[in-house]
């Protein structure tokens, strides 16, 4: 009978480091020896991961496998018990990141207009008013904003609010953009719109993106790689590459390559479910 570690903070053998296991070429985010447990039950044990630069990676896996936990540890919202996370060799503190929450209503600042929400991170960085205006205008053009950004978030539709959230996250030109189920609260029309806009933003900025999704189609559609996780204790089940050229139109879901990748992903997912 194997014994689980009694405390989540002590592990029998040390995990890898960037020294013992160097990142693959063209890696942007390097995760080494990451361990995290909740209430003494390990979720991640000495977990290693390389996220490629300028690519979109979707995280997908069974319920409770800790998709969001993994992303939130990388984004610094959850403290891992052990392990190191480096962005191009830098720490998180030295790195500008963006984060889009599932619950856009709770993520925006309702006392600021939509415009001021987007400008907020720029102003707090000490950017000059002219430069702030230029950056917000630039984003408004990129996202083809047709509603009045002077309105308060609570006066906008859900899709408009999530658009503002994405613009705010992109405003400081982050190196990595994290998105936690960004589509799950949106209707289909807005999902299509945001998918298209995210691809344009990705093309225009080359930002590395990480998306957590519980919807298989959402997980596959934007991704260059689908990171499939196992049940807990969580490991990487498989990394499925998806090379369909961008921009991918809504019709791409009928493309044979999309269908193939989606069914492959589903296959791995079902295999992991049944173990």
């Amino acid at each position: 009978m194997s014994t689980l570690p009694t405390s989540a903070t002590t592990w029998p053998t040390p995990g890898d480091t960037v020294v013992s296991l160097p990142p693959a070429p063209a890696t942007h985010v390097t995760v080494r020896g990451l361990s995290k447990g909740f209430g003494g039950v390990p979720l991640y044990t000495r977990f290693n991961l390389d996220l490629p630069r300028g690519r979109i990676v979707s995280i997908f896996g069974p319920n409770g496998c800790g998709k969001s936990t993994l992303m939130n540890m990388i984004a610094g919202l959850i403290e891992p018990d052990e392990g190191e996370i480096l962005f191009d060799g830098k720490s998180l503190r030295e790195t500008t990141i963006g984060y889009v929450f599932q619950n856009y209503r709770d993520a925006l600042f309702p006392w600021l207009s939509s415009w001021d929400n987007i400008a907020y991170p720029l102003r707090r960085q000490g950017m000059k008013p002219d430069a702030v205006k230029a950056r917000v205008d630039e984003l408004a053009r990129l996202f083809e904003i047709r509603f009045d950004l002077q309105r308060y978030p609570y006066d906008l539709s859900g899709g408009q609010m999530q658009t503002v959230c994405i613009m705010r996250a992109l405003a400081p030109r982050p190196e990595v953009l994290f998105m936690d189920e960004p589509f799950s609260a949106l209707d289909f029309e807005m999902t299509l719109f945001i998918r298209a806009k995210l691809q344009e933003a990705h093309l225009a900025t080359g930002v590395t993106m990480v998306i957590v999704s519980h919807d298989l189609e959402d997980a596959v559609f934007l991704a260059d790689q689908i990171l499939l996780l196992t049940r807990r204790p969580t490991r990487i089940a498989e990394i499925v590459p998806f090379d369909l050229p961008r921009p991918r139109t809504p019709e791409a879901v009928a493309d044979p390559e999309f269908v193939r990748v989606k069914s492959r992903t589903l296959e791995v997912f079902r295999r992991e479910m049944s173990t």
Partner: protein, 255 residues
């Protein structure tokens, strides 16, 4: 409903009209001796004349002055203290029992205690009213900070914003809606305690003093007039705060 029929605007007047009708009925049907309850018409005429002659104004002014002084003190102490305690949950937990205990104790029960400390003075009335109101302000401000949406705080942290700015730009702003709920209850509480204090702590002025004086000499018309004025004062204070809140905290209840 976006569009209101003209008659729907009159709906709020039905309650007061019914009350006046009931009042008149009680007198017409001889349910109550007229010596205990004057007719509504006469009372309203008396109300008008006390304002026209200015007889009620010094009392009204003292009550308003005491209420606003107490409220002002309560805000000055309660808001900063509440926000400070709210941003440190351990600090709040350690004083929570004391706050809840005194919040649940009717402040009027503390009047004798305050009389021992402050004597029968104006300061006493303001002190006890501001004490009662302060607890409400403090409690609401603290909870406003503690119940700040975690997502908003995280959103600011992700941006690499300093702790001070997370506090000032997010926690403080988040607490405002709840703080205003506290301010509204606190001004009502301040008025209640001021009126009680004016009745039972030797007082020369104030609406509470006017009510108890009129009752002692069986001047029921003047007593009911003063009660109506006190009610109207409480209502207007509440309404004033509601309007300020709508203007300043425009996101309240929407986000």
């Amino acid at each position: 409903m976006l569009f209101k029929m003209p008659w729907q605007r009159l709906l709020p007047l039905i309650g007061p009209a019914l009350l006046l009708a009931l009042w008149q009925l009680m007198i017409s049907a001889n349910w109550v001796k007229p010596v205990l309850l004057p007719p509504p018409g006469e009372t309203l005429v008396h109300l008008w004349s006390t304002f026209a002659s200015g007889a009620i104004l010094p009392d009204l002014w003292s009550t308003v002055f005491r209420t606003l002084c107490s409220f002002g003190l309560a805000v000055l102490i309660g808001v900063p203290l509440g926000i400070l305690l709210g941003s440190n949950v351990n600090a709040y937990r350690s004083v929570e029992f004391a706050i809840d205990f005194f919040r649940s104790t009717p402040s009027s029960a503390l009047i004798p205690l305050f009389m021992l400390i402050f004597g029968i003075t104006d300061i006493n009335k303001i002190a006890i009213a501001s004490f009662g109101a302060m607890l409400i302000v403090l409690f609401n401000s603290a909870y406003g900070v503690m119940n700040a949406k975690k997502t908003r705080v995280m959103a600011a942290q992700i941006m690499g914003v300093s702790r001070w700015h997370v506090f000032k730009d997010v926690l403080l702003m988040e607490s405002l809606a709840q703080t205003f709920v506290g301010l509204r209850s606190a001004v009502s509480m301040a008025l209640v305690i001021v009126i009680v204090a004016e009745m039972f702590i030797g007082s020369e002025t104030g609406l509470g003093h006017r009510i108890i004086d009129a009752q002692q000499v069986f001047n029921v018309k003047d007593m009911y007039t003063s009660i109506l004025v006190t009610g109207a004062l409480g209502y207007l204070l509440n309404l004033g705060f509601l309007l300020i809140e709508k203007k300043l905290i425009h996101w309240s209840g929407k986000a």
